[in-house]
């Protein structure tokens, strides 16, 4: 994938398909140690030991629409070519945690990319009716932290949809300002 945020969106889709109602996304950029890590933890149905053992196999998928599942293998390839790796832990009935880490300044490390678009893509997938899935996103960089929590936003909004155009614009603006603040004086 061209951006790490596209892998994040892919992990979100997996979590939603697993019936998650709460996803925790944590991105940590440690400039001194030259590491970037992304972890996505959900409270979905989790995977059996057998399914977990086959997670790297591109020809293993639980879906019926096609015979391949490339999400995790692609992420693993992306992490490994940057001297990093992917770890997946899962427990049936509890949830799944996927953690990928990268050498931050590696020449092959894809940019994080459009996180705002990724979060919008996630919000559009949440069921319009039925139980909504919330996301809690924390991004740390050199002692600064950006937080985005849809539960908090939903509470303020009452019955108004997260996808109302004006709410969407507010979220875009909120995230843009948040990222600007996070990446000010980047220590490259």
């Amino acid at each position: 994938m061209l951006e790490l945020s596209l892998h994040v969106l892919d992990l979100f889709q997996n979590a939603l398909e697993a019936g998650a109602t709460r996803i925790q996304l944590e991105i940590v950029e440690d400039v001194a140690q030259n590491r970037l890590s992304i972890s996505v933890e959900d409270n979905g149905r989790g995977m059996s030991r057998e399914a977990l053992a086959r997670i790297d196999d591109p020809f293993f998928t639980t879906r019926k629409t096609r015979r391949v599942g490339l999400g995790i293998p692609l992420l693993k390839a992306a992490a490994r070519r940057c001297n990093g790796d992917v770890r997946v832990t899962s427990k049936l009935g509890v949830g799944t945690r996927v953690e990928a880490d990268f050498e931050r300044d590696h020449i092959d490390r894809a940019p994080l990319g459009d996180m705002t678009g990724t979060l919008l893509g996630f919000i559009l997938t949440s069921p319009a009716d039925g139980e909504a899935c919330d996301i809690h996103y924390t991004h740390r960089l050199d002692g600064r932290t950006f937080t985005f929590d849809t539960r908090e936003i939903r509470e303020v909004l009452g019955g108004v949809s997260l996808m109302h155009p004006r709410v969407r614009r507010w979220m875009e603006d909120f995230m843009e300002r948040g990222f600007r603040d996070l990446y000010r004086n980047p220590s490259f």
Binding site: M1, L6, L9, D10, Q13, E17, R63, T65, R66, G69, L70, G71, L74, D114, G117, T118, L120, G121, L124, T125, A128, F146, T147, E152, I153, V156, L157, G158, G159, V160, M163, H164, P165, R166, V167, R168, R169, W170, F174, R177, G178, D181
Partner: protein, 124 residues
């Protein structure tokens, strides 16, 4: 970052939007974007953002949602448009740069863009 100030803005926005909602009816147009691994890799997120932008610029009321893979990975990005009782139209290879023309033809002029159609489905 002025987080609390920002949430205050959101609170004010909510009050305005709620008033608006009582006037506005439900939309009959649903646009669905495939967002499986295949769709994402083919540019579905950019297609989705282009659709949102186009709807906003033209002030069109439509419900946009994303779904997983339906098995036609080679034709991603896939976009479905369903309007009222009309058949559901599936468009393939719908990259972001095609979005303005699609919205213009299908939603404004009411013409299905035949060259981009993969299939149509009449739902029971």
């Amino acid at each position: 970052m002025p987080r609390l100030e920002s949430l205050e803005d959101l609170r004010a926005l909510r009050a305005e939007v709620q008033e608006e909602l009582t006037v506005r009816g439900e939309t009959e147009t649903v646009i669905t974007v495939g967002m499986g691994t295949c769709g994402i890799a083919a540019g579905a997120r950019e297609t989705m953002r282009a659709i949102l932008k186009e709807l906003e610029d033209r002030d069109i009321d439509a419900h946009v949602k994303t779904v997983g893979c339906i098995g036609m990975c080679a034709d991603e990005p896939l976009v479905d448009i369903k309007q009222g009782d009309e058949p559901r139209i599936t468009y393939g290879n719908l990259t972001a740069e095609k979005v303005p023309d699609l919205i213009e033809e299908h939603l404004i002029k009411g013409n299905v863009v035949e060259g981009w159609v993969l299939g149509r489905l009449r739902e029971a």
